[in-house]
Symmetry: C2
Subunit: 166 residues, 2 copies
């Protein structure tokens, strides 16, 4: 049978002159089992939520937000540790810190123990923005609860942590 030409699961012998009508009818083929693809698709949703609840209201990008949250939750951190936690190269982190510093959200203090190193410290304004935008995470996640139960939300995060593995 003609299907023998199709060594992969999910690959139909399509009739070349009768393509599906709607893009939502499209078959994913091998993609349907590729985690990375579904992560990319889901991130479109979460990015939209982020923009609406945090990005636009507070003028923050995703990494800027994550950085503020980390310093808020842990106290002063060196750029070195922030770069590791955010999986950012040192030069990119420098530019990121420059922007947030220019906005008056943080300052860099040289460490007294090792004068090569720095401590990234939130200013008062930085504290305010970090706490307010951090609080916005609650309604942001709630917006997902029409697609996902709370238990599914928690389960999803737990599974993603296993994938991230750190």
């Amino acid at each position: 049978m003609a299907r023998d030409r199709s060594p992969l699961p999910g690959l139909p012998d399509w009739p070349a002159d009768r393509p599906p009508k709607a893009f939502s009818d499209l078959s994913l083929g091998p993609l349907s089992d590729v985690l990375g693809y579904h992560i990319a698709q889901a991130s479109i949703t979460t990015f939209g939520l982020f923009e609406r609840h945090v990005g636009q209201p507070f003028g923050l990008r995703k990494v800027e937000y994550s950085l503020l949250m980390l310093v808020l939750a842990n106290g002063p951190l060196s750029p070195k540790k922030l770069a590791q936690a955010l999986v950012l190269s040192a030069p990119n982190l420098t530019l990121l810190l420059d922007r947030l510093q220019e906005r008056g959200l943080l300052r860099r203090e040289r460490s007294q123990l090792d004068r090569r190193s720095q401590n990234v410290v939130l200013t008062d304004e930085g504290q305010r923005v970090a706490r307010a935008s951090g609080a916005a995470a609650v309604p942001m996640e709630s917006a997902l609860f029409d697609r996902l139960s709370r238990a599914e939300h928690a389960m999803l995060i737990e599974l993603l942590r296993k994938v991230a593995g750190r």
Copy 2:
């Protein structure tokens, strides 16, 4: 108590002069419940797997791979539908198709029914690359099974589909 100054869950009153030592010890604060953050972290893992199993072996980027899989699984598609399925702007899709066409993986045929429209068709070489790289998805996903059971992998994809909602 001092904790009253901390209106958000997961926000300790950190001792300003005793930051955590290892970055893996860092508290995520509000981030711990933010799905988008965990998606971003997990995508670092899946992107690495993609690069190793598909990106480098076949010289394909993520969107290029997705595009090939869609045309492989559905047959000739118009740029319009591809742009919707891949959530890509029309100009960017044009450049993407240009690259793949230059490599001889696909060609563009004008539709006879509506001469504004086109059909993106895989060349023989494109079919070969698509089938081979599509087959590489199997070992790529298998590489996750030391972090995730097969059931968890399937569950994770199902939950992500709910989040993506399309």
